[in-house]
């Protein structure tokens, strides 16, 4: 269980590897489609398998509130509940508490909040977050962190990262208590999250503190809460080299295709983002410019894809598939004109077909990246 470094790109931090989880191996760099409420929006788990997704991400906050982690536990975990047999990473729930829930109150103990669904009161402590993720049967568990707002004062970020470190320690302790009873191959992995906002010294401080706690992998957090691309890359440039080479690095909530490539070149192994599915539901589709099984892995990869607004009039009678070189279900079966028509007529099928294509684009992007390292 854990990470195996396979190959490193010359003169770069880019690398390929494998994360061994109790539900199988994930080749990195990888992209994790988001199954917010136990479903990648509009796509069933069987199709996700056909799309060759290696690992998906479940949202602890959503699943805790509905259908509840206790219910999912009764089913033997999220895998069985949603009929997905590959690895699952769950977030800590913290991010959604800060972005979705109402009346948040942060204290040493944890994050108090009101459910956005029914207004009920809840307390998410580091121990509770681990508890929930354990109930979900997650293969990769994230520690609870405070997601500081952007922008924030240095003082705020500093205090926040210190709290995040103390919470990380509590998470580790609680995780070990549960996990130590399991045989090695049945254990989940636990990832720490480096915070520190847009301050170099604070990123370094956070990384240093977390390295002293023994985690199976490290995430870089707090980079997608409204930050522009350059600030995000800066945080990665500061942080990634401080993280141990033999552990996977996960850039949370990132990002656009060029950000993914740029982050791989900076040493990142794992990504998740709502962009492909959310954009798909708005008719925004991705298309590679060149037919190839490789891609230039560089900090500034240049333009390698196009965006297509499928609802545009110009696709009205376009008989071609979205991308003639794409092997996804949608491109194999339907034309741009048909997809445009489904969007115009507000047919539900539009959302599914577009989502399948965009997820495929992201997974194909990761494959090209792995082929190129």
């Amino acid at each position: 269980m854990g990470f195996k470094l396979i190959k490193k790109l010359k003169n770069s931090l880019a690398r390929t590897g494998e994360i061994k989880t109790r539900h199988g191996i994930v080749k990195t760099p990888c992209f994790m489609p988001i199954a917010t409420c136990a479903s990648v929006k509009s796509i069933d788990s069987v199709q996700m398998e056909k799309s060759k997704a290696q690992i998906i991400l479940g949202n602890t906050y959503h699943l805790y509130l509905r259908p509840t982690d206790k219910l999912i536990k009764k089913f033997g975990g999220l895998h069985k509940f949603m009929n997905w047999n590959g690895p699952i990473l769950t977030d800590s729930g913290g991010y959604q508490v800060f972005s979705l829930a109402k009346m948040r109150k942060i204290s040493e103990k944890g994050a108090e909040f009101k459910s956005h669904i029914d207004g009920s009161n809840h307390m998410l402590t580091p121990e509770k977050s681990i508890e929930i993720q354990n109930n979900l049967g997650s293969d990769i568990i994230m520690v609870l962190d405070e997601c500081a707002p952007y922008p924030a004062t240095k003082k705020y970020i500093d205090e926040s990262l210190e709290l995040t470190t103390r919470w990380a320690q509590r998470c580790k302790k609680h995780f070990d208590k549960k996990n130590v009873k399991l045989r090695k191959n049945d254990r989940a992995l636990l990832f720490g999250i480096v915070q520190g906002g847009t301050y170099k010294d604070l990123r370094e401080k956070s990384a240093k503190q977390l390295l002293q706690i023994d985690f199976d992998g490290f995430a870089i957090g707090g980079v997608s809460v409204g930050e522009p691309s350059e600030k995000m890359f800066q945080a990665v440039d500061w942080t990634a080299p401080l993280l141990p080479e033999e552990k996977p690095r996960y850039l949370m909530g990132v990002g656009k295709p060029e950000e993914v490539v740029g982050a791989v070149a900076r040493g990142i192994d794992m990504f998740d983002c709502v962009i492909p599915t959310r954009n798909a539901r708005h008719g925004t589709l991705y298309k590679f410019i060149k037919k190839s099984d490789k891609i230039k892995v560089s900090k500034s990869p240049g333009k390698f894809y196009e965006i297509m607004h499928i609802t545009n009039e110009k696709f009205k009678s376009d008989k071609k598939s979205i991308d003639k070189n794409c092997g996804c279900f949608t491109c194999q079966n339907y034309s741009r004109a048909y997809l445009r028509h489904l969007f115009s007529a507000k047919e539900l099928l539009a959302l599914r077909l577009a989502s399948i294509h965009n997820i495929h684009f992201y997974l194909e992007l990761m494959k090209r990246i792995r082929n190129s390292v």
Copy 2:
């Protein structure tokens, strides 16, 4: 091309047969899922094939307005546009003009209306309806009829059916002009529609008039516009025996499962209805009471299925599939609890999984009926 009677049930009008169309054979009695806007709501054509749908129904009114029949013609017809290679029946557009469009004006010439989408003015004549259905590449074309409101005076219904007959003649004439140029195996089929409301003598009059025009099949119309079940069955009891045995009989817009069985026992071969998909989208699911490959085909078939409101609290932690004997994609892969959760969380996937199940139920019902005749 046309109908072949295979078997008749003893002491009943129920029968099995085959309709040969230019896109393949349809075993009857059959149910036609409705692909309103070139998509069976939430289900792609590949899944419809996997679900073993034999034939689907396209709505002329919707497709004429959007994406337009002219566009679909450019694609080589609806089959190619939506990637469905089986037979397609299209309605005449009349029903939606009467139920959806605004500012309708009926005259000898045709039905004038404003689009419900953009308010634009249109005129649907019998010739125009045939034109559109030809452009769509329909395999079974329906004549334009006036769908009289329910209830209506006898005088209104009488005048309406006379108009319907004159329109049917014009449709036949226009259809023949186009169709006669085609080789026999490339021809579409044209169906007439018997009207006459809830009046026996008017149903007889309409049937008699239509029989004098040579159609490939006959529909019974005007039975689902607000009529109660008994009135519908009465109309079928009066009409079906008057229709030639060697031609298929289609009961438009019907119905609930017990109505379908009851109508088969009265001599009907073809059905279409929005019930399975619309109910699915509201979480109302069908389930056979007994595991069997047959069903009692009778005018009063008794209770052979149950309705399940999947959003009900009692399914919250139900690990069973909707129906343990069901072979549909949904039942093979997901539990009641998962489906209930998807509905609670308003996940798009709920609508698809529920629709796939209900369509399968209807198709399975028809299979059991065919096995039992």
